[in-house]
Symmetry: C2
Subunit: 202 residues, 2 copies
């Protein structure tokens, strides 16, 4: 049983997928805290509906990232979180959080990294004209979108896709993959190989 702290900025559909997987008995975890970078994120409502404590950054705190990440790190620590789960968190995670949870900050990206890093993974892949994109779950580190890759799943772009239908399918894969990979953590299957710098799944 692992304790998760979830960081989000928006609708929180990945948080919901995690909550649902826990309720269904497919993920041996609890969500101890949800942190939103925005006070009006719908994900906060989902957390409250599930009885999960929340922290939302005020605009003043948000604007000072060093202070914000110090505050977030302390709140996560106070909640005895084992892993920090970025779920649509539209902001980098900086030293205060990374140092408090070394190799225990997990991010999901809606493309097959290293292709289409950055804030627009789905539309960048679409514009480029790739025929396969996908979802990546990786450890976050100081080099954004470049941390060791834990899991990837391809999503085939279909000839009659639009950006909207592609986005839907990618989110569907995210919602399935994130709980599955978090269960790997619960089962202690995810190991960073210090020699290769790569993730081994045991």
């Amino acid at each position: 049983m692992i304790k998760l702290g979830v960081l989000l900025s928006g609708s929180g559909s990945n948080l919901q997928a995690i909550i649902d997987a826990i309720a269904a008995g497919n993920l041996d975890a609890s969500v101890a805290l949800v942190v939103s970078s925005r006070p009006d994120a719908y994900g906060l409502k989902r957390a409250q509906a599930a009885g999960i404590p929340t922290v939302a950054l005020s605009r003043e705190v948000y604007n000072n990232q060093a202070a914000a990440d110090e505050l977030i790190a302390n709140e996560l620590n106070r909640a005895n979180v084992n892993y920090v789960v970025m779920a649509g968190y539209m902001r980098k995670v900086t030293a205060p959080i990374l140092n408090m949870f070394p190799n225990r900050v997990i991010n999901i990206h809606p493309a097959l990294l290293p292709s289409f890093a950055g804030a627009h993974g789905i539309s960048d892949a679409w514009e480029y004209g790739v025929k396969v994109t996908g979802v990546t779950i990786h450890l976050a580190n100081a080099e954004y979108d470049k941390g060791p890759i834990i899991a990837q799943e391809p999503v085939i772009i279909l000839e009659d896709d639009t950006t909207e239908t592609l986005e839907e399918r990618i989110h569907a894969v995210e919602h399935e993959l994130y709980p599955k990979v978090l269960q790997w953590f619960a089962n202690d299957k995810v190991h960073l190989n210090e020699k290769t710098g790569k993730i081994d799944i045991l």
Copy 2:
């Protein structure tokens, strides 16, 4: 029925896959000419065994790329080739060939472009630690490895893979995908959308 000119530098296993697909009736094409950048490439033997005319560059011609590509373009033209198929051709294709066959030079790359462009697509992906790689077939243009993507197929990296087993699986996908995509050309299904710059498969 389309006429192909195949460029290669090595063993020619993709050429063999094309020859076999034609013989099996799965590809409405003929290979009118095989050009090797090296006089000792095993692919030349495969071509000769299939009764296909060959051209091999001498070292002197090879060393002068402008002259070499002029010669290759003229030979391909003389053979009435419709499409130029790069199949393990370890060299860029330059203006004389690209201008003679605009949007009709096809390349295969053993990774999911734009990730891991360059001469070491398989080992670069392996070293990076991705969990999904694959095969890309694209139109070659002046920006190497950046031409419009025609087809991609993912290859999942397994926990017990080695670079060797991964390489085998990627080559197996290449040998299946290349004839299939060439048949799309034979059926006139591949169209470059001038507005988006992307390939539509009709």
